[in-house]
């Protein structure tokens, strides 16, 4: 089992660092899946994380100049590693000016993902910084737990407003209530509502637009379109999701399954991130 990759482009390095930083803000531990073509950061739903799950997919060709992988077995040419993304984020953050960056799977005191960077220096010999990030190799047996989540059978799909705006609103709402109701309809309208004994606050967004999914048969009457699909979620999870995003993605979609789950899809420069927040009673 071997993995070795090299990155030399500063832009790629910055982007990769940003993505890993986002992941580190979403979860304490996650699974990194390495295949010949892609990298995946995955989190399957766990009670500990409030039932949220995450799936982030990036094409390795967009980042690495060299990429060599020998998976677990010839017929399973993949590697699954459990790691703390904060460690990886920290390692990458200090290498932003690197002339080149290598990531490889090694065995030091335990299985590690080693990030080694050649940094510019005052002398002819470059400075070398090496970070050994401990990882757990996930046995093949457990790989089935990490299947790509399917898009749920949603009631409403809508484009999100600018994430920063949403975040500002939710930051303030968080002080007032633990739960938030997110609702949207097929007319491009979305509301964020909180309600407590003392106060109720709601923020309305209009003209957001609804993405055209293939099987969209909701050409029904305006009444049908105006009907809101609601889901009540833990406000902290939503806030965590919004805080983790550092840039406004090219595309941001929200799928709502009434009273069940809300599914966010963010697409930015060929990197996709899906995040599921379940409804709370």
């Amino acid at each position: 089992m071997r993995f070795r990759a090299k990155m030399v482009d500063v832009g790629c390095l910055n982007n990769f660092t940003r993505i890993v930083h986002t992941i580190s803000k979403l979860t304490k531990m996650c699974t990194l899946r390495l295949t010949v073509h892609n990298l995946y950061f995955m989190l399957s739903e766990k009670v500990g994380s409030g039932g949220v799950s995450m799936w982030c997919e990036l094409s390795q060709g967009n980042f690495f100049d060299e990429f060599q992988l020998e998976g677990m077995a010839p017929d399973a040419n993949e590697i699954y590693l459990e790691l703390v993304p904060e460690n990886l984020s920290r390692a990458l953050r200090t290498t932003q000016h690197a002339k080149s960056l290598k990531i490889k799977l090694t065995k030091k005191h335990c299985p590690c993902l080693t990030v080694a960077a050649d940094l510019p220096s005052l002398s002819s010999l470059s400075r070398v910084v090496t970070h050994d990030i401990p990882v757990d190799v996930i046995p093949r047996k457990l790989w089935q737990d990490f299947k790509e989540p399917s898009v749920p059978d949603f009631d409403v799909s809508i484009y999100l407003p600018p994430l920063k705006t949403m975040k500002n609103v939710i930051d303030r709402m968080k002080n007032l209530s633990n739960f938030l109701v997110l609702e949207a309809n097929k007319n491009g309208e979305m509301n964020l509502k909180i309600e407590t004994d003392l106060v109720s606050v709601s923020t309305h967004f209009k003209d957001l637009g609804n993405p055209p999914w293939d099987d969209d048969d909701s050409q029904g009457g305006s009444q049908e379109c105006a009907k809101m699909a609601q889901v009540r979620v833990d406000i902290k999870r939503l806030q965590q999701f919004l805080t983790s995003q550092q840039v406004n993605p090219n595309k941001a979609v929200c799928n709502i399954v009434r009273e069940r789950i809300v599914h966010f899809i963010l697409l930015h420069e060929d990197v996709s991130l899906q995040y599921f927040i379940p409804a709370v009673g």
């Binding site: 080694a116 220096s121 400075r127 090496t130 050994d132 046995p139």
Partner: protein, 477 residues
């Protein structure tokens, strides 16, 4: 006799003074011989031959001293102007990151600001020469030493940016009579901010260290060191530095209590060429506390003065030093002592740092067998899994609790070592053992923590005694 003359009689010669609760010199000190004529030069010497006469004279002198103290003002008066105010402020902030108390001592060669951390494993001293000040005067024949909470002094120099813009002059006045230290900031538009701080008389705080005797000296621009520490998380306590003739490695030190498999290891390698001076007499590896150093690096960066590191073998303190014509800064940090034999240490170095930097480190075959074992294990949980094969090249970090640091102090007739052992024991008995396992080292002063100390008879003691059960090695200095 004129009070001034009498006062001179009473001043003991030695710099470090043992004081009792009343701040009067203790009786078992040398005193200057009394001259008959007023303008006879005061010199040091032993007590007069006549024992009886001495005793009575001694009593007189002691009594008079307390009277005289009030007649002769002990003062220090100095003024700092312009950008030096900011330098002074930065020094205070830098010291505050190390210790809680500021020791201020006006000396002939300048004003010394010192501090020590709570576990006595780090010491810092900023010595501002008289040239640093627009005006510097301290009463010649008095020994003023005071200490105060560093937070109070920090409050005087609160906001560095506004200091720069508004403060034109800072006047510092020390009045021992009233036990008052006054900082007067002369600001723009005629605004005067006066801070009156009270202080305690204190013992001398002086670390004994000899930079000249260190085998290894590295000097670099502060930016190099600042960039180096950036690679380590702010929370990192200890860092290990390894050096050979061409390179130096910094890596984070992991306590053995923490599961090694969870710890992220970071290592930075710098070549000798990046240093202004790179003198390595002994290939060595030392571990010291990074946290305490950060305060100094902040100051160094703003001063743009090169930073020199002086160090030797593990256990001996590391000294970080900045000097120019008007300022001398020394940070002395204890280092972890290796309990392994010297030959082990050189082996470690050899194994850890093979001559060429090996860029490819793939998982070896052992890993594959581990994977196979993983797959064939019946339960997917951890319980049945074999442990990952141990890498024979795992660097053995210095073993846990046996942290001894060789004291640097040369006893000045007082048994420092015994005091240290006491302190070590006291700390363990009374409090939790200090978080940092570096033991108190190298101070030339006595801290009368308990009254028992001062009455203790002086006994010779083994220099090093361990505070843990498993300890065996006792080394003579």
């Amino acid at each position: 006799m004129r009070p001034l003359f009498l006062w001179s009689l009473l001043t003991p010669i030695r710099n470090s003074t043992t004081v009792d609760g009343n701040n009067a010199p203790c009786c078992d000190k040398e005193f200057i011989s009394v001259g008959e004529e007023e303008d006879e030069p005061i010199g040091s010497g032993m007590v007069p031959a006549n024992g009886v006469l001495y005793e009575s004279r001694l009593l007189v002198l002691t009594e008079v001293k307390s009277v005289v103290r009030h007649l002769v003002p002990q003062t220090m008066d100095c003024t700092v102007t312009g950008s030096n105010v900011k330098v002074l402020a930065k020094a205070v902030h830098s010291l505050s990151r190390l210790g809680d108390e500021l020791y201020l001592e006006p000396q002939e060669n300048g004003l010394a600001l010192r501090t020590v951390n709570s576990s006595r494993s780090a010491y810092a001293c900023f010595l501002f020469s008289p040239l640093f000040f627009q005006k510097y005067s301290s009463s010649q024949n008095s020994v003023l030493r005071c200490k105060m909470a560093i937070k109070s002094v920090q409050a005087v120099f609160k906001s560095l940016s506004s200091l720069e813009k508004t403060v034109e002059k800072c006047h510092i006045e020390l009045d021992n009579q009233k036990s008052r230290l006054t900082f007067t900031l002369h600001c723009k538009h005629g605004l005067l901010k006066t801070h009156n701080l009270s202080f305690q008389d204190s013992e001398s705080l002086q670390a004994v260290f000899d930079k000249g005797s260190c085998n290894n000296v590295l000097t670099a621009q502060p930016k190099l060191l600042v960039d180096t520490v950036l690679h380590f998380p702010p929370s990192l306590e200890e860092v290990t530095l390894s050096v050979n003739n061409e390179r130096v490695w910094f890596r984070n030190h992991v306590e053995e209590d923490i599961e090694l498999s969870k710890a992220m290891m970071t290592e930075l390698c710098l070549s000798a060429e990046e240093f202004d001076q790179f003198t390595v007499g002994t290939h060595t590896e030392i571990t010291f506390c990074l946290k305490e150093l950060r305060g100094m690096l902040g100051f160094a960066e703003s001063s743009s003065l090169p930073v020199s590191m002086y160090f030797d073998e593990p256990g001996r303190p590391v000294v970080f030093s900045l000097t120019d014509s008007i300022l001398e800064v020394n940070f002395v940090l204890a280092s972890l002592s290796e309990d392994s034999q010297p030959h082990n240490q050189s082996n470690k170095n050899a194994k850890r740092h093979p001559a060429p930097y090996v860029p490819d480190e793939f998982m070896n075959d052992d890993m594959d067998s581990y994977i196979i074992a993983l797959e064939t294990s019946e339960i997917a949980g951890n319980s049945d899994l074999p442990p990952p094969p141990k890498d024979p090249l795992i660097l053995q970090q210095s073993k846990s609790k046996k942290h001894q640091c060789k004291p640097m102090v040369q006893s000045e007739g007082l048994d420092e070592d015994e005091q240290q052992e006491e302190e070590g024991k006291t700390m363990e008995e009374n409090d939790r053992p200090p978080n940092k396992k570096f033991r108190s080292l190298f101070f030339g002063s006595v801290l009368p923590v308990s009254s028992q100390r001062t009455n203790k008879t002086l006994q010779s003691q083994e220099i090093l005694a361990s505070d843990s059960e498993e300890e065996t090695a006792l080394e003579s200095p």
